[in-house]
């Protein structure tokens, strides 16, 4: 199949950037979206041009590196799918595809489709540590975790930090990401000692990074390739309000 691509090209964080049109020729429907870009890049390299920069690592949907807005949807808009797991069979021969980087003040564009997601790392850092005893590990069965809590914590922990929630949110809010991190620790016994200081610190850092607020629109959860549910946000709100009632600052 042959496709027309409109790709955002930007030399560096300071430069203006613009859309450039490319032709992707002889694309096999079984290729992933990133493999299609690899084919285009190969041709660019052969012609002595700068290849399109995009982030990628595992290419199996679990690292969170790849991320681009494809035809208006983060990761292309297929349920539970990252860009690397999006296959070209979802497109038709002759299609035109617009490819843009995540857009948010807190995610400055580094080059082409690559944005700086360090803001997420700083939110995680602000959360700090969990208290854990050193020495020999205790018997696993001594810490009881209700099955439904274990499941919900695991669902939240599936967050790969790709930033699609921020990209999809009309306010570029990082609430779903931050809430997922809060929920996966807050639901487990090991996360209890620092539960309330953690939520206060992480929310403070989230706001400081310049993300917008939440308007409960739900685009984040709809765009999330790991299908993190919206109710983790309610959980974070509750933890923050309880923390403040307890006088945690």
């Amino acid at each position: 199949m042959n496709l027309t691509l409109h790709v955002w090209r930007q030399k560096n964080p300071q430069s203006e950037g613009r859309f450039v049109t490319y032709q992707a020729k002889n694309i096999i429907p079984d290729m992933s979206f990133l493999e299609m870009l690899d084919v285009v890049n190969q041709e660019l390299i052969m012609n002595g041009e700068e290849p399109i920069a995009f982030e990628h690592d595992c290419r199996e949907g679990i690292c969170g590196s790849c991320g681009m807005v494809i035809n208006g949807y983060p990761h292309g808009g297929h349920r539970g799918t990252t860009a690397c797991q999006l296959h070209m069979r979802h497109f038709k021969d002759g299609d035109t595809i617009t490819i843009e980087p995540w857009r948010a003040r807190a995610f400055p564009v580094m080059k082409d489709l690559i944005v700086d997601r360090s803001a997420f790392d700083r939110i995680i850092q602000a959360g700090g540590f969990i208290s854990a005893n050193t020495g020999a590990a205790q018997d696993a069965n001594t810490i009881l975790v209700p099955k439904q809590n274990a499941e919900a914590a695991m669902d939240a922990a599936a967050c790969i930090g790709c930033g699609a929630c921020v990209a999809a949110c009309p306010n570029a809010s990082a609430m779903l990401f931050t809430a997922a991190k809060i929920a996966h620790l807050g639901l487990l016994p090991q996360g209890q000692p620092e539960r309330y200081t953690r939520v206060v610190r992480m929310v403070e850092q989230m706001d400081k990074e310049g993300f917008g607020g939440c308007t409960n629109i739900g685009e984040c959860a709809a765009a999330c390739p790991k299908e993190i549910p919206l109710d983790v946000i309610a959980r974070m709100n509750r933890d923050l309000l309880v923390a403040k009632l307890k006088g945690v600052n």
Binding site: A172, G213, G218, A234, R238, L241, K246, V248
Partner: protein
Amino acid sequence: MAAALTLYRTTIGKKAVMAITGFIGYGFVILHMLGNLKIFEGAEGFNEYAHFLRTVGYPLVPERGLLWVVRIILLTAVILHITAAIQLTRIDWASRPKGYRQIRRKQATFAAMTLRWGGLAIFLFIVYHLAHLTFGLGIPNFGGHETAYQNVVASFSNPINVVIYIAGVGALGMHLYHGVWSMFQTLGLNGPRTDGLWRGLATLSGILLFLGFSAVPVAVFTGLVR
């Protein structure tokens, strides 16, 4: 107290203020709508109700005492709701300096996407509504609360007022369709088990309040109430 102030510094804290003040407004519009339906009891019943609102609690509290307590609570709620909304909107609008060439929404509702504009429409409607039916602007032979029934009939005999009113309560219905559910989500009172309940309550509130409020102008205009 210090914690409450630091809470307000966060976006979540501002939203909590919006949720609580929104809840006050929500309670008010329900009672207001139920009160309006007394128009169907006729002039005497409706005007007596208007009089009751001024004397309720008397002689334990001064005449109009409770009325003013409620008015002050409502005015405070409206001011806080709008202040927080403006502050949050400024933060939200600053969060994406460069937009997308193409962005598509997967599940955002029209009500959710237009909440701010709907809120602005409701604010303008309240200003008009107070000027019109409380202060008598544009009502011939306005007699204050003593002739509440006659004021309503005089107002809605004019189709312009009917259209403005229905548009205003339409905006209110849309605002509640997203706002009522959002209120529980923001205060952390939502979870997988309650989501359907709050979603249902929000939908029902939006529809019933729209219909309940609209019944009065429609009844007057069609001559059912005169």
